[in-house]
Protein backbone atom coordinates (compact mmCIF):
# COMPACT_ATOMS: atom_id res chain seq x y z
CA UNK A 1 0.00 0.00 0.00
CA UNK A 2 1.15 3.53 -0.62
CA UNK A 3 -0.32 6.65 0.87
CA UNK A 4 0.12 10.16 -0.41
CA UNK A 5 -0.93 13.39 1.24
CA UNK A 6 -2.23 16.06 -1.08
CA UNK A 7 -1.71 18.82 1.49
CA UNK A 8 1.89 17.89 2.24
CA UNK A 9 4.59 20.37 1.12
CA UNK A 10 6.51 17.38 -0.29
CA UNK A 11 5.87 17.15 -4.06
CA UNK A 12 3.57 14.27 -5.01
CA UNK A 13 6.11 12.59 -7.30
CA UNK A 14 8.63 12.63 -4.47
CA UNK A 15 6.10 11.11 -2.06
CA UNK A 16 5.57 8.32 -4.58
CA UNK A 17 9.32 7.74 -4.95
CA UNK A 18 9.80 7.60 -1.17
CA UNK A 19 6.85 5.21 -0.71
CA UNK A 20 7.95 2.84 -3.46
CA UNK A 21 11.53 2.81 -2.15
CA UNK A 22 10.17 2.16 1.35
CA UNK A 23 8.06 -0.73 0.05
CA UNK A 24 11.23 -2.26 -1.41
CA UNK A 25 13.26 -1.66 1.76
CA UNK A 26 10.57 -3.15 3.99
CA UNK A 27 10.31 -6.12 1.58
CA UNK A 28 6.73 -5.48 0.58
CA UNK A 29 8.15 -5.54 -2.95
CA UNK A 30 10.88 -7.84 -4.19
CA UNK A 31 13.19 -7.74 -7.20
CA UNK A 32 11.24 -8.76 -10.29
CA UNK A 33 7.83 -7.92 -8.82
CA UNK A 34 5.47 -6.17 -11.22
CA UNK A 35 4.39 -2.64 -10.39
CA UNK A 36 0.99 -1.19 -11.25
CA UNK A 37 0.76 0.71 -14.49
CA UNK A 38 1.02 4.50 -14.49
CA UNK A 39 -2.67 4.72 -15.34
CA UNK A 40 -3.73 2.36 -12.54
CA UNK A 41 -1.74 4.22 -9.90
CA UNK A 42 -2.87 7.63 -11.15
CA UNK A 43 -6.51 6.53 -11.10
CA UNK A 44 -6.29 4.91 -7.68
CA UNK A 45 -4.72 8.04 -6.21
CA UNK A 46 -6.80 10.42 -8.33
CA UNK A 47 -3.69 12.31 -9.42
CA UNK A 48 -2.34 13.27 -12.84
CA UNK A 49 -0.70 10.39 -14.69
CA UNK A 50 2.23 12.72 -15.55
CA UNK A 51 3.06 12.86 -11.81
CA UNK A 52 3.24 9.06 -11.62
CA UNK A 53 5.19 8.96 -14.90
CA UNK A 54 7.74 11.40 -13.46
CA UNK A 55 8.14 9.31 -10.30
CA UNK A 56 8.60 6.14 -12.38
CA UNK A 57 11.08 7.90 -14.67
CA UNK A 58 13.24 8.98 -11.73
CA UNK A 59 13.01 5.54 -10.12
CA UNK A 60 14.07 4.00 -13.41
CA UNK A 61 17.01 6.40 -13.63
CA UNK A 62 18.08 5.32 -10.13
CA UNK A 63 17.75 1.68 -11.23
CA UNK A 64 15.10 0.97 -8.62
CA UNK A 65 12.58 -0.09 -11.23
CA UNK A 66 12.84 -1.10 -14.87
CA UNK A 67 10.38 -0.83 -17.72
CA UNK A 68 10.08 -3.82 -20.01
CA UNK A 69 8.21 -2.23 -22.89
CA UNK A 70 4.58 -3.24 -23.19
CA UNK A 71 5.00 -5.94 -20.53
CA UNK A 72 5.01 -3.33 -17.80
CA UNK A 73 7.19 -2.01 -15.02
CA UNK A 74 9.09 -4.25 -12.61
CA UNK A 75 11.27 -3.87 -9.54
CA UNK A 76 14.93 -3.79 -10.66
CA UNK A 77 17.01 -6.90 -9.79
CA UNK A 78 19.41 -4.67 -7.76
CA UNK A 79 16.65 -2.47 -6.37
CA UNK A 80 17.41 -3.28 -2.72
CA UNK A 81 20.98 -1.99 -3.09
CA UNK A 82 20.00 0.94 -5.27
CA UNK A 83 17.30 2.30 -2.96
CA UNK A 84 20.02 3.07 -0.43
CA UNK A 85 21.75 5.31 -2.95
CA UNK A 86 20.73 8.94 -2.59
CA UNK A 87 21.54 10.63 -5.89
CA UNK A 88 20.70 14.12 -4.63
CA UNK A 89 22.89 13.66 -1.55
CA UNK A 90 25.75 12.34 -3.71
CA UNK A 91 25.30 15.28 -6.10
CA UNK A 92 25.40 17.77 -3.21
CA UNK A 93 28.61 16.28 -1.81
CA UNK A 94 30.28 16.19 -5.26
CA UNK A 95 29.38 19.81 -5.98
CA UNK A 96 30.60 20.87 -2.51
CA UNK A 97 33.92 19.14 -3.12
CA UNK A 98 34.30 20.82 -6.50
CA UNK A 99 33.34 24.27 -5.17
CA UNK A 100 35.86 23.96 -2.32
CA UNK A 101 38.55 23.03 -4.81
CA UNK A 102 37.76 26.09 -6.96
CA UNK A 103 37.77 28.37 -3.92
CA UNK A 104 41.15 26.99 -2.87
CA UNK A 105 42.41 27.77 -6.35
CA UNK A 106 41.35 31.41 -5.76
CA UNK A 107 38.15 31.59 -7.79
CA UNK A 108 35.44 33.94 -6.51
CA UNK A 109 31.85 32.74 -5.90
CA UNK A 110 30.57 34.74 -8.84
CA UNK A 111 33.22 33.24 -11.14
CA UNK A 112 32.25 29.78 -9.96
CA UNK A 113 28.54 30.50 -10.61
CA UNK A 114 29.28 31.81 -14.12
CA UNK A 115 31.50 28.81 -14.85
CA UNK A 116 28.75 26.43 -13.68
CA UNK A 117 26.10 28.21 -15.75
CA UNK A 118 28.31 28.11 -18.83
CA UNK A 119 29.15 24.47 -18.28
CA UNK A 120 25.46 23.64 -17.90
CA UNK A 121 24.67 25.53 -21.12
CA UNK A 122 27.55 24.03 -23.11
CA UNK A 123 26.82 20.49 -22.03
CA UNK A 124 23.04 20.75 -22.54
CA UNK A 125 21.60 17.52 -23.97
Amino acid sequence: MITIELDSPEPLFNQLIIQIKKAIETKQLYAGDALPSIRQLANDLDINSKTVAKAYRLLERDKVIETKGYRGTYVHPNALDNVQFNLNGWLDSQVCLAVNRYREAGATDSEIRIAFTQAMTNTKK
Binding site: T3, L29, P36, D44, L45
Partner: protein, 280 residues
Protein backbone atom coordinates in the same frame (compact mmCIF):
# COMPACT_ATOMS: atom_id res chain seq x y z
CA UNK B 1 -59.17 -18.84 -30.75
CA UNK B 2 -57.63 -17.09 -27.73
CA UNK B 3 -54.50 -15.32 -28.80
CA UNK B 4 -52.47 -15.82 -25.64
CA UNK B 5 -49.34 -14.22 -27.06
CA UNK B 6 -51.06 -10.87 -27.81
CA UNK B 7 -52.81 -10.81 -24.45
CA UNK B 8 -49.72 -11.88 -22.56
CA UNK B 9 -47.76 -9.21 -24.40
CA UNK B 10 -49.84 -6.42 -22.83
CA UNK B 11 -49.39 -7.89 -19.37
CA UNK B 12 -45.70 -8.16 -20.10
CA UNK B 13 -45.59 -4.47 -21.07
CA UNK B 14 -47.37 -3.55 -17.81
CA UNK B 15 -44.97 -5.74 -15.91
CA UNK B 16 -42.04 -4.12 -17.72
CA UNK B 17 -43.26 -0.63 -16.77
CA UNK B 18 -43.67 -1.68 -13.13
CA UNK B 19 -40.36 -3.54 -12.91
CA UNK B 20 -38.23 -0.97 -14.75
CA UNK B 21 -39.82 2.18 -13.34
CA UNK B 22 -40.98 1.17 -9.86
CA UNK B 23 -39.14 -1.90 -8.60
CA UNK B 24 -35.72 -1.17 -10.11
CA UNK B 25 -35.63 2.54 -9.12
CA UNK B 26 -36.70 1.53 -5.59
CA UNK B 27 -33.89 -1.01 -5.35
CA UNK B 28 -31.20 1.32 -6.71
CA UNK B 29 -32.45 4.16 -4.49
CA UNK B 30 -32.33 1.95 -1.38
CA UNK B 31 -28.91 0.61 -2.27
CA UNK B 32 -27.54 4.09 -2.81
CA UNK B 33 -28.97 5.35 0.50
CA UNK B 34 -27.51 2.27 2.19
CA UNK B 35 -24.07 2.96 0.66
CA UNK B 36 -24.19 6.68 1.44
CA UNK B 37 -25.12 6.07 5.08
CA UNK B 38 -23.04 2.98 5.83
CA UNK B 39 -19.94 4.02 3.95
CA UNK B 40 -20.12 7.82 3.66
CA UNK B 41 -21.00 8.46 7.28
CA UNK B 42 -18.41 6.06 8.74
CA UNK B 43 -15.53 7.08 6.49
CA UNK B 44 -16.40 10.76 6.30
CA UNK B 45 -17.96 11.52 9.72
CA UNK B 46 -17.44 15.27 9.26
CA UNK B 47 -19.69 15.10 6.18
CA UNK B 48 -22.61 13.52 8.08
CA UNK B 49 -24.95 16.52 7.85
CA UNK B 50 -23.96 17.30 4.28
CA UNK B 51 -24.68 13.69 3.28
CA UNK B 52 -28.13 13.77 4.92
CA UNK B 53 -28.97 17.06 3.18
CA UNK B 54 -27.70 15.68 -0.10
CA UNK B 55 -29.79 12.52 0.21
CA UNK B 56 -32.89 14.46 1.18
CA UNK B 57 -32.82 16.78 -1.82
CA UNK B 58 -31.52 14.41 -4.49
CA UNK B 59 -33.58 11.37 -3.61
CA UNK B 60 -36.71 13.51 -3.81
CA UNK B 61 -35.78 14.55 -7.38
CA UNK B 62 -35.04 10.93 -8.24
CA UNK B 63 -38.43 9.78 -6.90
CA UNK B 64 -40.30 12.48 -8.85
CA UNK B 65 -38.49 11.55 -12.09
CA UNK B 66 -39.13 7.81 -11.63
CA UNK B 67 -42.80 8.32 -10.68
CA UNK B 68 -43.42 10.69 -13.61
CA UNK B 69 -41.84 8.31 -16.09
CA UNK B 70 -43.75 5.37 -14.65
CA UNK B 71 -47.05 7.21 -15.13
CA UNK B 72 -46.05 8.06 -18.69
CA UNK B 73 -45.11 4.45 -19.51
CA UNK B 74 -48.23 3.15 -17.79
CA UNK B 75 -50.38 5.53 -19.85
CA UNK B 76 -48.67 4.42 -23.09
CA UNK B 77 -49.22 0.72 -22.33
CA UNK B 78 -52.80 1.29 -21.06
CA UNK B 79 -53.67 3.17 -24.25
CA UNK B 80 -52.38 0.28 -26.35
CA UNK B 81 -54.15 -2.35 -24.21
CA UNK B 82 -57.51 -0.56 -24.13
CA UNK B 83 -57.46 -0.02 -27.90
CA UNK B 84 -56.00 -3.50 -28.55
CA UNK B 85 -53.43 -1.71 -30.69
CA UNK B 86 -49.68 -1.80 -30.86
CA UNK B 87 -47.65 0.54 -28.64
CA UNK B 88 -48.02 4.24 -29.62
CA UNK B 89 -50.59 2.90 -32.16
CA UNK B 90 -47.47 2.26 -34.19
CA UNK B 91 -45.25 -0.76 -33.72
CA UNK B 92 -44.62 -2.93 -30.67
CA UNK B 93 -40.97 -3.47 -31.50
CA UNK B 94 -40.22 0.26 -31.80
CA UNK B 95 -42.54 1.05 -28.87
CA UNK B 96 -40.64 -1.37 -26.68
CA UNK B 97 -37.40 0.40 -27.55
CA UNK B 98 -39.03 3.71 -26.55
CA UNK B 99 -40.13 2.19 -23.23
CA UNK B 100 -36.57 0.97 -22.75
CA UNK B 101 -35.16 4.47 -23.29
CA UNK B 102 -37.75 5.93 -20.90
CA UNK B 103 -36.80 3.34 -18.27
CA UNK B 104 -33.11 4.07 -18.59
CA UNK B 105 -33.59 7.72 -17.53
CA UNK B 106 -33.88 7.01 -13.75
CA UNK B 107 -30.76 4.82 -13.96
CA UNK B 108 -28.88 7.71 -15.58
CA UNK B 109 -30.25 10.15 -12.99
CA UNK B 110 -29.02 7.85 -10.23
CA UNK B 111 -25.60 7.61 -11.91
CA UNK B 112 -25.42 11.42 -11.91
CA UNK B 113 -26.48 11.54 -8.24
CA UNK B 114 -23.74 9.04 -7.35
CA UNK B 115 -21.16 11.00 -9.32
CA UNK B 116 -22.03 14.19 -7.46
CA UNK B 117 -21.99 12.26 -4.19
CA UNK B 118 -18.37 11.31 -4.76
CA UNK B 119 -17.58 14.97 -5.47
CA UNK B 120 -19.23 15.82 -2.15
CA UNK B 121 -17.04 13.26 -0.38
CA UNK B 122 -13.99 14.76 -2.11
CA UNK B 123 -14.81 18.11 -0.49
CA UNK B 124 -14.63 16.47 2.94
CA UNK B 125 -11.61 14.32 2.16
CA UNK B 126 -8.62 14.61 4.51
CA UNK B 127 -6.29 14.83 1.51
CA UNK B 128 -4.88 11.34 2.04
CA UNK B 129 -5.02 8.92 -0.87
CA UNK B 130 -4.21 5.25 -0.64
CA UNK B 131 -3.38 2.84 -3.44
CA UNK B 132 -2.23 -0.72 -3.70
CA UNK B 133 1.03 -1.68 -5.38
CA UNK B 134 -0.59 -4.87 -6.65
CA UNK B 135 -1.02 -5.07 -10.41
CA UNK B 136 -4.61 -5.41 -11.53
CA UNK B 137 -5.48 -6.76 -14.91
CA UNK B 138 -8.64 -7.68 -16.75
CA UNK B 139 -8.27 -11.26 -15.49
CA UNK B 140 -8.65 -10.06 -11.90
CA UNK B 141 -12.06 -8.68 -12.76
CA UNK B 142 -13.39 -11.18 -15.29
CA UNK B 143 -13.34 -14.88 -14.50
CA UNK B 144 -12.30 -17.54 -17.01
CA UNK B 145 -15.83 -19.01 -17.42
CA UNK B 146 -17.13 -15.52 -18.21
CA UNK B 147 -14.45 -15.00 -20.86
CA UNK B 148 -15.38 -18.41 -22.28
CA UNK B 149 -19.08 -17.43 -22.38
CA UNK B 150 -18.23 -14.15 -24.14
CA UNK B 151 -16.17 -15.88 -26.82
CA UNK B 152 -18.66 -18.69 -27.35
CA UNK B 153 -21.44 -16.07 -27.63
CA UNK B 154 -19.44 -14.23 -30.29
CA UNK B 155 -18.81 -17.41 -32.26
CA UNK B 156 -22.45 -18.46 -31.94
CA UNK B 157 -23.67 -15.10 -33.22
CA UNK B 158 -21.15 -14.93 -36.08
CA UNK B 159 -21.98 -18.54 -37.00
CA UNK B 160 -25.71 -17.72 -36.96
CA UNK B 161 -25.14 -14.69 -39.21
CA UNK B 162 -23.20 -16.81 -41.71
CA UNK B 163 -25.93 -19.45 -41.62
CA UNK B 164 -28.68 -16.90 -42.29
CA UNK B 165 -26.66 -15.24 -45.06
CA UNK B 166 -27.08 -18.56 -46.88
CA UNK B 167 -30.65 -19.10 -45.65
CA UNK B 168 -31.99 -15.52 -45.41
CA UNK B 169 -35.36 -14.52 -44.00
CA UNK B 170 -37.41 -11.35 -44.56
CA UNK B 171 -35.77 -8.33 -42.95
CA UNK B 172 -32.42 -10.06 -42.34
CA UNK B 173 -29.64 -7.46 -42.38
CA UNK B 174 -26.91 -9.81 -43.61
CA UNK B 175 -23.35 -8.95 -42.65
CA UNK B 176 -24.55 -5.66 -41.13
CA UNK B 177 -25.35 -7.78 -38.07
CA UNK B 178 -21.61 -8.18 -37.55
CA UNK B 179 -21.29 -4.40 -37.43
CA UNK B 180 -24.00 -4.42 -34.76
CA UNK B 181 -22.03 -7.02 -32.84
CA UNK B 182 -18.88 -4.89 -33.06
CA UNK B 183 -20.88 -1.91 -31.78
CA UNK B 184 -22.28 -3.94 -28.87
CA UNK B 185 -18.82 -5.27 -27.98
CA UNK B 186 -17.35 -1.76 -28.13
CA UNK B 187 -19.96 -0.39 -25.73
CA UNK B 188 -19.27 -3.10 -23.17
CA UNK B 189 -15.48 -2.93 -23.56
CA UNK B 190 -15.56 0.86 -23.11
CA UNK B 191 -17.84 0.54 -20.05
CA UNK B 192 -15.54 -2.07 -18.48
CA UNK B 193 -12.47 0.06 -19.27
CA UNK B 194 -13.99 3.10 -17.60
CA UNK B 195 -15.09 1.07 -14.59
CA UNK B 196 -11.54 -0.23 -14.21
CA UNK B 197 -10.07 3.26 -14.53
CA UNK B 198 -12.59 5.24 -12.56
CA UNK B 199 -10.92 8.13 -10.71
CA UNK B 200 -14.06 8.86 -8.68
CA UNK B 201 -13.47 5.62 -6.79
CA UNK B 202 -10.40 7.18 -5.19
CA UNK B 203 -12.89 8.53 -2.63
CA UNK B 204 -13.31 4.93 -1.42
CA UNK B 205 -10.37 4.98 0.93
CA UNK B 206 -9.51 1.29 1.23
CA UNK B 207 -8.09 -0.12 -2.03
CA UNK B 208 -9.55 -3.54 -1.21
CA UNK B 209 -13.05 -2.08 -0.89
CA UNK B 210 -12.47 -0.19 -4.13
CA UNK B 211 -11.52 -3.45 -5.81
CA UNK B 212 -14.64 -5.23 -4.47
CA UNK B 213 -16.84 -2.40 -5.80
CA UNK B 214 -15.16 -2.44 -9.22
CA UNK B 215 -15.28 -6.21 -9.41
CA UNK B 216 -18.98 -6.18 -8.61
CA UNK B 217 -19.75 -3.57 -11.29
CA UNK B 218 -17.62 -5.32 -13.92
CA UNK B 219 -19.10 -8.77 -13.20
CA UNK B 220 -22.58 -7.40 -13.79
CA UNK B 221 -21.48 -5.61 -16.95
CA UNK B 222 -19.99 -8.81 -18.29
CA UNK B 223 -23.11 -10.79 -17.34
CA UNK B 224 -25.30 -8.28 -19.19
CA UNK B 225 -22.91 -8.53 -22.16
CA UNK B 226 -23.20 -12.32 -22.17
CA UNK B 227 -27.01 -12.20 -21.86
CA UNK B 228 -27.13 -9.63 -24.69
CA UNK B 229 -25.02 -11.86 -26.95
CA UNK B 230 -27.17 -14.94 -26.42
CA UNK B 231 -30.34 -12.85 -26.65
CA UNK B 232 -29.21 -11.55 -30.06
CA UNK B 233 -28.53 -15.11 -31.23
CA UNK B 234 -31.96 -16.14 -30.00
CA UNK B 235 -33.72 -13.28 -31.82
CA UNK B 236 -31.91 -14.23 -35.02
CA UNK B 237 -33.15 -17.80 -34.72
CA UNK B 238 -36.67 -16.72 -33.70
CA UNK B 239 -36.84 -14.53 -36.81
CA UNK B 240 -35.20 -17.20 -38.95
CA UNK B 241 -37.68 -19.85 -37.81
CA UNK B 242 -40.58 -17.46 -38.45
CA UNK B 243 -41.61 -17.25 -34.78
CA UNK B 244 -41.95 -13.46 -34.89
CA UNK B 245 -44.78 -13.30 -32.35
CA UNK B 246 -42.34 -14.56 -29.74
CA UNK B 247 -39.84 -11.85 -30.58
CA UNK B 248 -41.62 -9.07 -28.66
CA UNK B 249 -42.10 -11.50 -25.79
CA UNK B 250 -38.40 -12.28 -25.70
CA UNK B 251 -37.38 -8.62 -26.05
CA UNK B 252 -39.55 -7.57 -23.13
CA UNK B 253 -38.27 -10.42 -20.97
CA UNK B 254 -34.73 -9.42 -21.88
CA UNK B 255 -35.38 -5.82 -20.80
CA UNK B 256 -36.90 -7.09 -17.53
CA UNK B 257 -33.84 -9.21 -16.87
CA UNK B 258 -31.33 -6.52 -17.80
CA UNK B 259 -32.86 -3.90 -15.53
CA UNK B 260 -33.15 -6.33 -12.63
CA UNK B 261 -29.48 -7.21 -13.04
CA UNK B 262 -28.54 -3.52 -12.99
CA UNK B 263 -30.65 -3.08 -9.85
CA UNK B 264 -29.09 -5.98 -7.99
CA UNK B 265 -25.63 -4.91 -9.12
CA UNK B 266 -26.13 -1.59 -7.38
CA UNK B 267 -26.00 -3.46 -4.07
CA UNK B 268 -22.43 -3.80 -2.93
CA UNK B 269 -21.45 -7.21 -1.54
CA UNK B 270 -21.26 -7.69 2.22
CA UNK B 271 -17.47 -7.94 1.98
CA UNK B 272 -17.42 -4.28 0.98
CA UNK B 273 -18.82 -3.21 4.34
CA UNK B 274 -16.69 -5.60 6.41
CA UNK B 275 -14.87 -3.74 9.12
CA UNK B 276 -16.89 -0.57 8.71
CA UNK B 277 -19.39 -1.32 11.46
CA UNK B 278 -16.66 -1.50 14.11
CA UNK B 279 -15.34 1.90 13.04
CA UNK B 280 -18.74 3.50 13.62
Amino acid sequence: MFDWISNTTYWLFFSQAIITLVVVPMIIRNNFIDFARRYGMTQYPNAKNAIEDYLLSNIRIFKIVAAGLFLLSFAIVSHAAVNQAELFSWDNQAGLSCLFFIAIIPVLVMAAIQKRFFSLLADYSDGKRVATLKVRGVRDFISKPMILFIFSGQFLFIGSVFYFVNHPFDGFGGYLNLLGLAFLDSIFIITIYFTMNNKRLAMIKDPNQRFVGQQNAISVNVTIWIVALYYLCLTLWISGLDLLSYRIFMQSLYIHLMFLMVAFASKLPASFYQGLEEKR
